[in-house]
Amino acid sequence: MLFNSIDFLIFFPIVTILYFAIPHKYRWFFLLVASCIFYMAFIPIYILFLFALILIDYSAAIFIEKSEGSKRKLYLIISIFSTCLALFIFKYFNFFNVNFAVVARFFHWNYPIHLLKLILPIGLSFHTFQSLSYVIEVYRKRQKTERNIGIYALYVMFYPQLVSGPIERPYNLIHQFYEKHYFDYKRVTDGLKLMVWGMFKKVVIADRLAFFVNQVYNNTGDYSGISFIVATVFFAYQIYCDFSGYSDIAIGSAQVMGFTLMNNFTRPYFAKSIADFWRRWHISLSTWFRDYVYIPLGGNRVSPPRHYFNLFISFLTSGLWHGANWTFLIWGALNGLYIILETMTAKIREKIICLIRLNKAPTLHKLIQALITFSLISFSWIFFRANSIKDAFYVIAHLFTGVPGLLFNLISHPLAAVSEYHNLFLLGQSYREFIIAILAILFLESVHLLQRKDSVRATISKCPLLLRWALYIGIVLIILNFGKVSQPFIYFQF
């Protein structure tokens, strides 16, 4: 069930009203049933597969708690192995198989390719990581084993975050299923406001930008230069609005029922460095890799080369988590390299900044940092969005084709240049669509600027009633009238 669908517009109020209407002791069971219905809207039979995974990790955690020493570790390994095996079969088998066949051909081995024709269960990467988090935390003795299999199943399947996160930690979420949630006016309205904001980001911005981006990235041979730059910048905002929009709706819908999910995005394009960006982008996944990959590898408490290796491996696996494709692997590796270079050059950069006295103009300094970070991140998005490695390199090779001439003309003869080159910016869409897209991005960043000082919801709540309602009604009307036809969320594929 998509959040931006009529099904969900019916499902959500019914579930929420019934949730508050039924006695507390039955609520967890009701939420579990609702989550099953939500999941089964995609491919119903996969619910059995999900139940099997739940049963394995639930049992493994109990065995881990009861055991000591090497047995404990063995149960952990069995649990991790079975969860990863499921992930491997559905998501990575074909990728590795095809690549193995390429290697085999190189050595003249006869290796027939047998591809599995399986549809990836929706949100597989998310709920498997959430399950792994539980088992690992039980192993680390930071989380008590959950004896009620229904509650554990709900932890894995809680519908707001089942298919695209935030990837929760057991110590954040499980105890909330036992707490009694009352209908709290402020919390409910705050949750609804967040859902509306998420919907705005998704249907007004992300789904609109998708038309521009798809036109270019699905026909790379037909475009070059400025069109690639516009499409890539638009993709940076598309993926942000798509995924953070989903997270807002997830967090908001949980908040309405009284649950607190972790924040997943904090104005990532205001980041002043790549490391800062990753503290702000898909926080639940970044911290997952930090806690369960980077730190166990030794983190930064090792020699510099080993530290760089740990960073690189964490980002490479993060790339692989996103998809079984070389484009995602390169995207992960590229971000790993960015971080390593950033760490290696930290002192030199600091000296240069002092030398050119940029530290005396902190606002300008921050702006330059944010622009450089945004450019580097947008460059890496080329690999994330491109349909193939070949396409990605084609985009990169033609990224600046004709751009100097265009800039020269824009400066020397602006009106003539706009009339001559407008198609390069419009990317097959109308002026109206282009202007709405630009205005929506500006509006989004204005909201982000406001958020630096205080929560926007808190700021709005201080406004007079009439203004507040005008704002809320305005946003809903914009969603209804300027929202594009619903597209699946990008992160659903992961």
Binding site: L2, L477, N481, G483, V485, S486
Partner: protein, 322 residues
């Protein structure tokens, strides 16, 4: 909880009121409908449905009037109105006719251009030229309001997305009975730059199909003729001229033959309803057309005057018969 639901109900009610107001403004901005409603009030005699072949002109033209403007000035005994859009075709003309009849507006004559290219996948299947929203407004304004309100949340809504971009791109393109590729292969050649190969591909894509009796646009034309006749409205169908000379240059013999066959198919369908069609498809040579380096039905000043005269003759001869 009571306070919340009361406020929510008020909020939803106000939003709904504003949404309906917004949609009314949206409907009012449907220019062609406003023109038609005005024509009904003024009891205009002739309704001319136009596409780009009506309004486009050559840069060298001194007289840049459209066919409908010329007709309006020639047919002085009649009042006339033009309901036009560059990509209008039979399907939306049919909806306009249904709307007129529903509104009890019965003009004396309705002029309907039949553009041969509108049957090709380049036009017939183009998602941007389906006019689903306009068709829904003409069918039922309340229905339009409902679908518009849920549009952003209804990805399976075929009413507003009759043909998706990917369905369009994967539509087969035929030269006669032979499949020669899919739309995506041909859209690449469009307007990019002039070359002999692009010209040939565009002509193939636009005109070399073999028209079948059951084509949806032909069905719309037949239905339109039926509705108009049933309501004592005289339909004047004319097949717009095509630059057949250029077509012949790229497909010698084959182009004219295909064009004639397709025109015959149209005639046979409309004549089933005892109905004549003014066939201008091969009346004009290349020097009557506006664009040289792109296959088109856009006429220059001379061409538009010729078409105007022929339509005028037809209407006047009908008048004499009466």
């Amino acid at each position: 909880m009571k306070k919340f639901f009361t406020k929510l109900a008020i909020f939803l009610l106000i939003t709904l009121v504003f949404q309906i107001l917004f949609l009314i403004i949206h409907i009012r901005s449907f220019h062609q409908l406003t023109v038609l409603e005005k024509a009904q009030k003024e009891k205009v005699d002739i309704v001319y449905f136009g596409d780009s072949s009506d309004t486009n002109y050559s840069n060298e033209d001194l007289d840049k009037r459209s066919i409908s403007q010329m007709l309006k000035e020639t047919l002085t005994n009649y009042s006339m109105v033009s309901i036009s859009h560059p990509a209008y075709e039979a399907d939306i003309f049919l909806e306009f006719c249904k709307y007129m009849v529903k509104q009890k507006y019965y003009p004396k004559v309705v002029i309907i251009p039949i553009n041969m290219r509108s049957f090709s996948p380049s036009w017939d299947r183009n998602p941007g030229w389906q006019f689903e929203k306009e068709k829904t407004i003409l069918e039922n304004k309340l229905l339009f309001m409902f679908f518009k309100m849920i549009e952003a949340f209804d990805k399976n809504n075929k009413r507003f997305n009759e043909i998706t971009q990917s369905e369009f791109e994967n539509t087969e393109v035929f030269s006669g009975e032979k499949a020669v590729g899919i739309v995506k292969d041909f859209e690449k050649h469009e307007f990019r730059h002039y070359s002999e190969e692009n010209m040939k591909n565009s002509i193939l894509y636009f005109y070399m199909f073999s028209l079948k009796n059951d084509h949806r646009k032909l069905k719309s034309l037949a239905e339109m003729a039926k509705i108009l006749l049933e309501n004592n409205i005289r339909p004047v169908f004319y097949i717009t001229p095509i630059d057949y000379e250029t077509g012949e240059r790229y497909f010698p013999g084959e182009f004219s033959e295909r064009l004639k066959n397709n025109v015959e198919t149209i005639k046979s369908v409309l004549e089933e309803n005892n109905f004549g069609v003014l066939d201008l498809s091969m009346d004009l040579k290349t020097n009557f057309f506006a664009w040289e380096r792109y296959p088109n039905e856009h006429l220059n000043e001379k061409g538009r005057k010729y078409v105007t005269e022929r339509i005028e003759e037809m209407i006047k001869s009908d008048e004499k018969k009466k």
